[in-house]
């Protein structure tokens, strides 16, 4: 199915998903076919393929999501500045219209591919596949995928990345995880950003934000940081280092939560 590189993949749930479905019974003029596959079967197939690309080239791929303006690009810039000599970093930028974010990243001397999605409010695995073939994966350790700014739509699409990072800036309100449970339940790391502004805000409680994340049965780390203060970035850099190692030690690393639900991933336990 991959025209660019011709490699083959086995999606994790292939054993559950018969492409043509199973015939369960026939009555006059109609046939009932049992399918039991994800509504995003095709996307998930492509995502598994992307993940195989990243794994084969020993690259950690991270999906950054947030509202517009929460500081995704600014955090990437600070991270690149600080870690450029330790890791070889590449960036895939998703945006509705402009090339601006990719230009901001390239100014730091790292490769960036811009995907302009036009109407689409999220990245999907096919867009990321096209973009990753524009990067020289052999020369990279980490690929950051900056998703379209939106706390709803990106949560449903597996891109083939290894972990989900959700940013919540302190100017947005500490109850965002309760308002956007699908996205925050699926986060492997939550970053409370723009912490330099906390002193000017009296209504953002980082502890409350964390409690809202826990109420989604999510044990992911919740870190508070500012892209403008390098001294706040240590725990984030440590998490990154641990993830680079985790990926090297596990060939099947995926985000903890899969967007199409447990039913398709609950193997052998019925």
């Amino acid at each position: 199915m991959c025209e660019t590189c011709g490699c083959t993949i086995t999606p994790g749930n292939a054993h559950l998903v018969a492409d043509q479905g199973r015939l369960s019974h026939t009555k006059d003029g109609t046939k009932s076919i049992e399918v039991l596959s994800s509504l995003l079967h095709e996307n998930n197939h492509m995502a598994a393929h992307n993940r195989e690309h990243f794994n084969r080239h020993n690259v950690l791929a991270l999906n950054l999501m947030s509202s517009p303006g929460s500081g995704k690009t600014a955090l990437l810039e600070s991270t690149i500045k600080a870690l450029k000599s330790r890791y070889r970093i590449g960036v895939i930028e998703g945006d509705l219209e402009t090339e601006n974010d990719a230009m901001r990243i390239r100014a730091h001397g790292v490769p960036a591919v811009q995907i302009t999605t036009g109407q689409a409010c999220h990245l999907d695995a096919h867009m990321v596949h096209d973009a990753l073939h524009e990067l020289d994966l052999d020369s990279l350790d980490i690929v950051f995928i900056e998703n379209v700014g939106n706390l709803v739509c990106p949560a449903s699409f597996d891109l083939g990345h290894h972990a989900n990072i959700t940013l919540l800036s302190v100017t947005e309100g500490d109850d965002k995880p309760a308002k956007y449970p699908v996205m925050f339940r699926g986060s492997d790391l939550v970053l409370l950003t723009k912490s330099d502004l906390l002193e000017f805000l009296d209504d953002f409680d980082t502890q409350k934000a964390e409690t809202h994340v826990r109420n989604l049965a999510n044990s992911a780390p919740v870190l508070t940081l500012s892209a403008r203060r390098e001294d706040t970035l240590g725990p984030w850099f440590n998490w990154l280092g641990e993830m680079v190692e985790a990926r090297q030690n596990a060939q099947n690393l995926t985000p903890t939560i899969q967007p199409d639900g447990i039913a398709l991933h609950r193997v052998g336990s019925s």
């Binding site: 003029g29 109609t30 509504l39 447990i262």
Partner: protein, 127 residues
């Protein structure tokens, strides 16, 4: 609205199944959607009513089954119902629970209409 993209993906998958079974069309598509799937059932239904004709299935009906949110507690083992933003054990209030239902976005089954006899024979070519 990502439901339109999801609906398109659903219709593509349905097309493949129809072709593989040499069927005539689709009477009904049955999907299961959980409240934690990120798919809004009314928006999916709306997208479906717009997209089905262009996909070649003008008469297909979409049936959306919703599944309840249920969690099983890792601490006390209780299974209980929960709300989207309070996935807590109903017995001990712990957040250390596993979701066991409620995040599905699944194509469950299709009811296909078979090729009418009058259209399947060699006569079709003559007409």
């Amino acid at each position: 609205m990502h439901e339109l993209a999801i609906c398109q993906s659903l219709l593509d998958q349905a097309r493949q199944i129809v072709d593989a079974h040499d069927a005539n069309g689709i009477e009904r598509i049955i999907v299961q959607i959980g409240p934690l799937s990120g798919v809004e059932a009314p928006l999916l239904a709306q997208a479906f009513s717009i997209a089905r004709s262009a996909a070649g299935f003008p008469n297909a009906e979409l049936e959306i089954e919703t599944s309840p949110i249920q969690v099983r507690c890792q601490q006390c083992g209780t299974t209980s119902a929960a709300r989207v933003n309070a996935l807590l054990c109903g017995s001990c209030q712990s957040w250390k629970v596993d979701l066991i239902s409620g995040d599905e976005m699944i194509l469950k089954s299709l009811i296909l209409t078979e090729q009418p006899a009058s259209l399947s024979g060699p006569l079709t070519r003559a007409g």
